[in-house]
Structures are given as C-alpha cells and as structure tokens.
Amino acid sequence: MNSDLYQRVEALLPRVERPVRYINSEWGARHASDGGHRTVLLYPDTYEVGQANQALAILYDRLNSIEGLAAERAYVPWVDMAAEMRAAGVPLFSLESCSAVADFDILGITLPYELTYTNILEALDLAGIPLDATGRAEEHPIVLGGGPCAYNPEPVARFFDVILIGEGEDAVVQIATAHRDAKRSGLSRSEFLDNLAGMPGVYVPTLYRPAPGGGVEPSGSAPPVVMKRVLTDIGVHRPPLCPVVPYMDVVHDRFAVEVLRGCTRGCRFCQAGMVYRPVRERSADDIVRDVMEGLRCTGYDEVSLTSLSTTDHSQLEEVLRRLTGRLEGSGITVSLPSLRVDAFSVSMARLVSGGRKSGLTFAPEAGTQRLRDVINKNVTEEDLIETVSRAFSAGWRRVKLYFMIGLPTETDEDILGIGGLVYRVQQAAREAVPASDRGSVRIGVSVSTFVPKAHTPFQWEGQIPTEEIVRRQEVLRSAMPRKGIDLSWHDAEVSFLEGVVARGGREVSAAIEDAWRAGARFDAWTERFGLAPWRQAFAEAGLDPAAIASRSYRRDERLPWAHISSGVSERYLWLERERALSGTTTVDCSFDGCTGCDACGTLSVDVLLGGEARGRR
C-alpha cells in the first residue's frame, strides 16, 4: 500500500505560508519500518508552536524505542494550508511517512492549553475522524488525550476515546501495547476500551455519565475516581537525547533536559505546582551526562535546564559549574527558564550567561505582602529589590516582572501596590547602574488575569467578570510609573474564555464544537482570536458563559473534575484555601518537611532530591 501523501502535499506548498511546517525530513525524525503498531502524536497548534513540546518528544522517544511500536508527529495546518487541503481533498497527514492520520492505530493529542481546543476539532475533521467518540467505527484510530488540561477533562471528554491522567512515559507504552494485543486477539473497539478503563491513570469518558449532584460518575464498573499516573523516579528514563532538530525557527528552539519534575513551593493559584507533586530531581551526574550527549547528537548551541523551578534543584550550582567548564570556548550556552527571587538565582544566572546579558525574569505575582501571603508566594519586597539591585550591578539592564490581577481577596489597594512595587524596582535598578547607563534600564511588566484552576486551593472560587477585569486593568495602568516601563497585559476576553473552558463541565463541549463550526480556531493567536463565534456558540448551546466562569462552589458541592485526582487530597486543598483567606503561609515540603498534601502516600511515591529519597518528615 502506498500511503505516502507527500506528492499531493507538495503540490500545495508553493501556495502557502511557511511551507517548512509541512516537509518533515528534519534531523532526528524517526522512520519506523512498516508492520508494527503505529501512533501519531499531535500537538493541537502549528508546527512552530508544538515542535519543541517536551512531553510529546518524550513519548515519541519512548514509543519509537520499543520493538513493534512506532510513533510519528502531526500538527495542525495553518488556515491557508487547511483551506488548500480541503480544496484538494488531502486529509490531515503525519510528518514522517506522510500518511493519513486516520490510518494510524492511535491518535495521541496533548492538551496544553484551553484555547487550543477548537484546533483539536479542526484536526479531527481534517483527518476525517468523527468528532464524537461514540460516532467512531472499528477502523478509526483510538483518540487518546493527555497533558496539563486533562485535569479537567470534561469540556473535551466527548471527543476522546481515552484520556490519560498524569505522567505518560510508561502509561502510553502500556496503552499502545494493550491496543496492539487487543487488535491481535480480535477484540472490538468497545471491548478494548472496557478493559483499558481498569488501567491506572486511564479515563474512558464514554463509560461515565452525568451525575445527579453535578460532575460525572461511572455508568458501569469503571473507577469512580481516576488517580494520576506518576513515576517514582524520573531518572529511570533518560530524556530524549536525539530529539527532532527542526529546520524552522520554533518556540524553544534548543536542546532541553528536564532536571526536576514537580514543584512544592505551594503557590495556591498554580495548578502545575499542585498536580505534578512530589518533587523528583534528576541527579547531577545524570544531568551533565545527558546534556553533553544530547548536544553532540543534536548540534544545538544552547541547552535549557527545564522544570517548573530549576533554581530549586538541590545540586544546581554543581551542575552549572560542571557544564560551564565543559562548554568553555564552544559558543554553546546554558539557559535557565525561570529564576527564583533571590541572590542565589542571580549568581546562577551569572554563571551561565557569560557575556550575554539578556533580561532576567521574576514573578512576584502580587503587589502587596498581604496578597502574596494569600497566594503563598513566598517573596518579600526586600528580596525583590535586593535581587534586582544585585542583577543590575552585575551588568543586567533588563528585567521582566510577572503579576496577576483578579486573585481572590484582591482590592484596588493590591493593584495600586503593583504600581508602587514596580516604581521601587525601577528606582533600585537605576541606582544600581552607573549614571550614564540609566537610560538603558528597562523594566518589563506582564500582567495576566487569574483563572481559578481545577485541583488548586482556589478551585472553588469563581473568576471575576470581564467588566471587572477591564476596570482593574485601568486601575493598574493609572498606577504604573510613566517612563521606562513596558507594560503588557492579557486581553480580558481571552482570560474570560479561558475561565469558561477551564472551569466548565461536559456541557461546554457543545459550545466548543459550535464555536469551531462558526470558524473559531487558533484562538491562542492574538490575530485570530475573536469572541464572536464563541458568543454565538454559547447561545446555540443554551449556556451562559459568564455564569460558568464566575461560579463559586461550596465545599459540599461536587466539582466538575471531582472524578479526577492528582493525589493531592481535596481536604488539603480546602485547608490551603482557608489558610489563604486568613493570610497564613505554608512552607515548601521538599526542604522544610511534609505539609500533608497526601500526594506521596496516595501515590506511593517520595520526594527525590539529587536522585535520593528524602523521605516524608
């Protein structure tokens, strides 16, 4: 069978923007031989946005390393290419073998962000796969979802046969193997799905129905609560050392090694900090070995040590000293994605930045100590000022600060506090540099609007209404120093839509489908975003989006995501909520002892620092 669509794809390329998105043949792309079980991994956005996604790179690597299993990649064609494909009758294709996505055994789709959901429908439609799991026949691929947004799966649950909760490196291999075996022994699609529902971390949405008190419940023997999958030690799998090296200038175009997983600083607004517990570090020896091997294999001139909070790695200094020693004179740089607000972070940044003084990034998140205590962002103004002074005396001239508005208990005073804090940071920065250099001091301020996320202590809170977001942005603008500040904020309507989709239940899926039918796609792209198709869609689905986003839940109400568990107990989240409202902070359990979130016990795992178990204290 000649399934290669490339000739037909190529005929379209001279007419589209950035044809490099569709040509495959990059260094490191794997071309499995025919005959085995085939998965295609799709990132629900364009090539340049999704190519460097580390989760998909890990799964690609894992599946291709196992005899009899193979994985390829696919992305969502930009609107011009999608139109050409529809006109020419070319279906959604994979990159490596350029075969129709519908011909694969499994279509794996990552769920990185709520505003990519219409792209998932665009991809399914271009692939010729029925949007609804219930509409699929034996010959269709199993549509498997996973990733950060799987923690509230309901808004997209209807479109998936299976959703994996939690870490995928072992689970995806088990699912693919189980599917291959099921096909070999002649099981039907529904028999396979019934069996799979017993596998840890697996959620099969068609086996659940709306529950009387809200949320969903199993209609048969599927587990009432699906517990996330978690690796006890991330060091058992090496990071992908020879990942695909793109031709195109993609987002995060560098070699990356995940140096630790999880973060237990305990910021109460942060979903990642709650759902990826506990902290598990890769050892310094493994990191240095893997960085060097990956650089050799990829030829990149930059390596990023990634995680939610890399400066928290207990052996970071050792790692950086060893790497900078080895990379001396090679022109290859090491980068740290985010910095903690302290002197240590600045000295670590100095160690790796060499001569290049690009900006530093810090996230105080709130403008007053009171509100920072509410959200458990353990940063003081003194720390911030001190850190910025140090950085500017050390030669940096640019700093970017991240804040949020719309946090629980926020008043105008907190917002005005952001302005005051930014002013004092600016003053400190100016004082730390020679007078002749003051003109080059730049302070970037990026302000997002808080969306209360599932599985966080603020999951019971509603989002503030759009008009209120706009008003607070206005307050913020008036509070900002006039000069030398680059202020940017998220569009209020984007945040509102995020809120609806992040907080909604199964009912929202009808609106996502209608919005896609009305032309919504690439909603995360500023130039493509518009609320109009969404408003129309909510109206058609008979939903009040504002009510969904701003709805608060009582403790005894069933949340739309109550059937999914990250291992952190609802009891703990509620306790953290109460502490938040009373302004009481909570320590970091990786360093200061267990704070009782229940993740370790429930999941039978332990905090692992530098590759060694610390033990719950």
């Binding site: 044809p19 043949s25 990829t298 001139d301 290049r356």
Partner: protein
Amino acid sequence: MAAGEFRLRVCHAKSGRARFLSHLEVMRALERSSRRAALPYAVTKGFNPHMKAAFGPALPVGTAGEREYFDIWLTQPVPAAEALERLRRSTPGELGIREVRYVHEREPSLTAASTMARYEVAVGGEGVTAEGIAEALVTVIGEGRLEVERKGKTKVFDLARSLPEEVRVGSTGPPVIVEVTTRMGQEGSLRPDALLEEALSRAAVDGAVVSVTRTDILIEEEGVVRRPL
C-alpha cells in the same frame, strides 16, 4: 582571521524537500551539522560568542541549489577528506555535502565574490512548448529591460547586464527546461522565474514555472569565470 585559524570552504546541495527552507534555516541547519560533526570550529569573540562561519548568496524559499557554499573557520586543520566524511554523516541528505577544501584567508568572501549564478527553470503546463518559450524570450530579452514587481516595489533590470550568457531552452517537455545565467550583486539580482513568468504572459500560454534550481554560483575574476571551489 585570527592566527592559527583554517578556513574550510564547503559545497553543499539544497534539494528535495529542503528547497522549501529559507536562507536562515539552511544556515542554522548547517551550523548544527558542523557542531554534530564535532569539527574544531572557531568561535567569534565578543558579547555573544558563536560559530565563525560565512554563507554564500541567499536562495529564496522554494528554490533548490546544486552547488551552494559556506566557509567555516577551524582552530585545527582537520584533513579535508576527514572533514568531508564527518560533515556528510552529520548532515541531512537533502543538504548533502559535496566537496570541501581549505581556501586562503585572502580569498574574498562568498557574498562579495559571487557575481553570477546559473539556473535551471522548469516550465510546465498544457500549452507550453519549447519553441513558444524560446520565441517569447527573444521578444522579452530584445526589449532590453524588464520591470519586476516584488512586495509592492518595482525594479527595472537592464537585461544586457543581468543576462551575461545566452538563455538556452531545452528541446523536450513540457516541462521545458530553460537554462538562465544571471548576474547578482549590489544593483539587484534578477530572479530567473521573473524572466520566465514575463515570457509566459507575453506568449499568453497557460503555463507556470514549476521548479527553479540554482546549478552554479560563479566568481568573475579579471574576465575569468570560475566556481568558488
């Protein structure tokens, strides 16, 4: 050149799917190939140290190349045959490395020295014939000047200057293969597809340029035309 550096000139292709790459993408890919090949490349001094390399004239997205060039400076002289072998193994086939040779530091830079390029343009379509194209080209070239519109700007090319060699039209087809040599440089570089598109519209035939390949980049020195390698 800093003392103790060795300038290696590399000739490579840009073929198959890789013709859809931009110049920047080709540069980045070849720099990565060179690092994978573990060549002892020199690094620039200054704020943002990077591999010391220099590339030849850019090829547009969609245009293939048979003999494209870049120079890379090494801190140790790796035997050319070995450098070739290492680069070949670390470069995607579609950017296939063809030849390498050390060149003198006094050799002018690729961008400054390359003043002519040869192309093969394939023209396809229902009504396309070799005679039709040849005739239309004679008319266009006879007029002596060509106006080309790109990105809203009009540029006028003096064809006597821009076409240093006779345009040759193949006898088979469609697609009909047309060989064009153009001059490039500061005053602008005539794109061969612009010439053929003008000819097609004059001849009023239903045809289109289906592919463009730069087959050679040439250096003119005191009346002698030669390859960079």
